[in-house]
Subunit: 440 residues, 2 copies
């Protein structure tokens, strides 16, 4: 390791990917160079930015010689200490990261999809080579949640990590809630405004939240990256009607990513969730993110902020660069790291069927004597007890919504009951369930 401090040499950074987050990162490194040097005690210098498009104006000046179209000018450059991967996607990003690692560089990334789906290989390579992987920007944008969970709460036994980690979904649900408008209409508007991608599947389908949950759970519980084991539901089935009923019952609907650990068994799930209106997290609206950590020692802590955006996410990237640079400067070998393939305990993941929760059901049923009795009969047979019922609007001819809130029930029983109820002649098919978090 160069003794950078003694030689007053700067720590040298190269970025691959000059898109949204790449621009935010470069901008901070260039514009806040003086501030960073003052705070760290040594300079950080941006040596290279590689992107196929180096012509487009990003709104700030890049020094001559920094831009390149060749990623190898970063990954293979002996004059670069830290490689920053910000191109996104899986295959190319992975080969760039592995290449940089092979060349002895520490790597910083915002790529939650890659880390969640193929991170084990990357962390193994880094561990073998003795370099660090920084990924603060992969969850919660500018919120320093990775550092909080892995370092600030290092002394804690974590019971649960849960929160709103996808800004696009939260923006859409907030608009639907505030304006009573349907999903498709709000999504189209969000796409026009640039808050949702042309293909919004990863955001509104819950996949992005699951990627982030994979990373959070691995740090919190010391388990391997368990993306394929997460139960994932998105927000596409949420209707203004359910939002209105939720409100009447004292709840808001949010897309939550939830990881809970109990007696060594971990629950991992992403789904729309009804939360008590008075809960702090119910006030987290628009594109904002918020992550709760519940720990045996510290109880609840909450981390709130902008979960996306060029400069907020760039702030997280630069905090990783600064952290790794500090280690390089003082000649430290990289810390064991937060996610390590070796020595991690095997995960025991609870089957979704065995998860217990409170439930909201919305049935569409004929308004005839005996229907409620039949439905509640099926629920009872399946060990599901009813906490409250709402039935509004009467019609002799049309089916009307029937809403039921349950006490704690088991997912497996719920699915069985709903299947049976959907087959009743007086009930329309497609009964809807939303899980409810809150105290019984």
């Amino acid at each position: 390791m160069r003794n950078i401090m003694k030689n007053k040499q700067p720590v040298r950074v190269g970025i691959v990917g000059f898109g949204t987050v790449g621009s935010g990162t470069a901008r901070i490194l260039l514009e806040n160079a003086g501030l960073l040097e003052q705070r760290l005690g040594f300079p950080i210098v941006l040596k290279k930015i590689a992107d196929l498009d180096i012509k487009r104006d990003r709104g700030f000046k890049v020094p001559a010689g920094v831009l390149t179209t060749n990623a190898a000018d970063v990954t293979d450059n002996p004059d670069i200490d830290i490689a920053v991967e910000l191109i996104g996607g899986l295959k190319m990003a992975k080969s760039i990261m592995l290449r940089a690692i092979q060349n002895g560089k520490s790597v910083v990334t915002a790529n939650k999809a890659l880390l969640a789906e193929q991170g084990t290989e990357i962390f193994e390579a880094a561990s073998k080579k003795g370099v660090s992987i920084g990924f603060e920007a992969s969850v919660g944008g500018g919120i320093p949640i990775i550092k909080a969970l892995g370092e600030g709460l290092v002394a804690n036994r974590i019971n649960a990590v849960y929160g709103i980690v996808n800004g696009t979904s939260n923006y859409i649900l907030t608009k639907m809630t505030d304006e009573g408008r349907p999903f498709q209409e709000v999504l189209a508007e969000a796409q026009k405004l640039g808050y949702a991608e042309a293909d919004p599947t990863l955001d509104v389908g819950g996949g992005d939240s699951a990627h982030k949950l994979t990373i959070l759970a691995s740090i919190a519980f010391g388990i391997p990256l368990s993306y394929p084991k997460i139960h994932v539901e998105g927000i596409t089935g949420i209707t203004p009607l359910d939002i209105a009923y939720a409100s009447e019952l004292g709840y808001k609907i949010k897309l939550l990513a939830i990881a809970k650990s109990e007696d060594g068994v971990v629950e991992l799930r992403v789904h729309p969730t009804m939360l008590p209106k008075e809960a702090l997290i119910s006030r987290v609206d628009g594109v904002m993110n918020a992550i709760y950590v519940n720990a045996k020692e510290t109880g609840d802590t909450l981390y709130y902020g902008r979960g996306a955006g060029d400069v907020p996410t760039g702030s997280a990237v630069v905090s990783d660069i600064a952290g790794i640079a500090r280690g390089l400067v003082c000649g430290a070998s990289p810390s064991p790291g937060l996610i390590q393939p070796a020595g991690r305990q095997k995960a025991r993941i609870r089957d979704m069927g065995d998860v217990r929760s409170l439930y909201y059901f919305r049935f569409t049923a004929l308004d005839r004597p005996g229907v409620l009795s039949r439905i509640s009969g099926v629920l009872g047979e399946n060990n599901i007890s009813i906490a409250s019922v709402i039935q509004k609007g009467r019609s002799k001819v049309e089916a009307v919504p029937l809403v039921i809130l349950t006490h704690m029930a088991r997912e497996k029983d719920v699915r069985k009951a709903l299947k049976k109820i959907d087959s009743l002649r007086s009930v329309a098919s497609g009964s809807l369930l939303i899980r409810v978090e809150g105290n019984e």
Copy 2:
């Protein structure tokens, strides 16, 4: 520096002070030793706990030979790497910290009063000796706000740090708000329940919040510890009447510690503040703390959790121990540190008279024609314009409350106007002001 890693030797810790936080810290180090070793890759061993009272049962078992009544068994012990000061108070705590530093030990403390009032001397001594000072536990209990501000947001230019940092005051205000009861009554109850000290001055008078603000502002703005320059008001003058008016106007009253920086000039103030009910921070109730950071790059982030308590605060102490231990293990010299006496820019603190704010005034005035006109006349003469007025309850004989909300006004002008209004024959003396945060 010992190469601890190579020799598989543990990092060795000694605690001085076996009170509330000392017990929480020791408990975590003992009970979570395995978890910490797994996460850090090396063991942390609690070698000594020094306290005058080593007889009292703290509810967990301490290994033989660890307890001592002699602080020098920690500060002068060559077998201890990190000394933890948790006795509180100023003089004795300072001499223990300086002694440990002189002996080449890094120091971890929760002592906000000492750091805020005499920290410069301690940080200078540590800097000279090349050791670290950890003080995560000094602000926000178990919330990792120091790490978030100093490391997670290291790339950010901070505009403002503000929040609820005193649990006792927040508990009292919450009870007053929820139950409409007066300050003295709720305080007495809080004292009975152990939520307030026998002498509550430091908590309800705002001094404790000012200590914490001193530390936050020094990190956020790179200014020296500026405790004596903080404008401090406590909650002792808040009445159920003002809380009721605030509620009617859409606000809640919280004791806020506020640090803002604008064009290099810093505002530092602690006072009761009216906050819009719908703001996230207005939902922070009971003993909970929450700190907002507003930064140019990341916008708003919020950090929420338990601001006090044995184990939550112990969790912060142990996270500092772990951080410093990581550095020792890898042979790193201590990082430049978050608060450094050398190289810090001089603080330019705004005089309180020049602070601009929105204001709530409550006058007690005779209900006669012309009184409002006289009061608003005085306000107008002093460049204070009125946003709204509430006058309730009519009486021919008694003075009645008259509430006025202002647009943005200057503190200096406000004080002048209130002095003049208090001298009017139709107004009782002792007019009350509460500053209001929110958008105009």
